[in-house]
């Protein structure tokens, strides 16, 4: 994922074509799941806490956390900061790695293009690692 984030700066229009087949498959399988797609679309707009996202998307907590963890493991959701829960506790906010997704189908070829989320682009690698250690709530 870091490679794609770095590459995005090389493209004037910010659209990065995904060349790697396994990454294309990973992205399509995530967006092909109805719940994961809702989560990714909500978090493409702005960073938020996981509990709020599950509420907005009306996804049950048990399956919701499983899907969120899978998206985090795949690198499609990234921690970008801390928010405050109702009890004032610091809670990690997440954002979709991609602000936008385009699919081009020409003859037998399927090309997935992504725009990296601005909040992710501006985040140094070390910061991502530090924030990733904060408990998911």
């Amino acid at each position: 994922m870091k490679d794609i984030i770095k590459k995005s700066k090389d493209y004037e229009d910010d659209w990065v074509p995904i060349i790697d087949k396994s990454l294309t498959r990973l992205i399509l399988r995530a967006f092909g799941d109805d719940d994961k797609e809702k989560i990714l679309r909500v978090l493409a707009k702005k960073p938020d806490m996981i509990s709020s996202v599950l509420e907005i998307c009306k996804i049950p907590k048990t399956s919701g956390y499983r899907k969120i963890n899978s998206l985090i493991d795949d690198g499609l959701l990234l921690p970008v900061g801390l928010g405050r829960g109702v009890d004032g506790k610091k809670i990690t906010q997440y954002v979709s790695a991609f602000e936008n997704l385009q699919i081009e189908i020409v003859k037998n070829k399927v090309v997935v293009k992504v725009q990296i989320h601005k909040a992710v682009e501006d985040l140094p690698d070390s910061k991502i690692k530090d924030l990733a250690n904060v408990t998911v709530n």
Partner: protein
Amino acid sequence: MDATNGEIKKALVSLAVESTLLDMGRPVLEEVERSLYQNYRCYIPDCYEHPEYLKNVLHDLYGASHSNIVKIIQKSLEEFSYQKPIENFLKIISE
């Protein structure tokens, strides 16, 4: 997001078909692509809307053993089969 839910599903199905055929060998993929175009003037992604084209081509090229290819495609899309368009696609290619 620019990509619609329909485009995502179409791309997902297309990739599942392509990967399955490619795993059997590039000549298999090329033969299916050629046959789809010759018979229906269509490409693999179009089979999402016309699964019967893929079914016919696989049957014509591989006879009874086409069901093995169908089973692999089904397995690869199994987790998405609760969605109506994908359920429909899988149902038609396996008829």
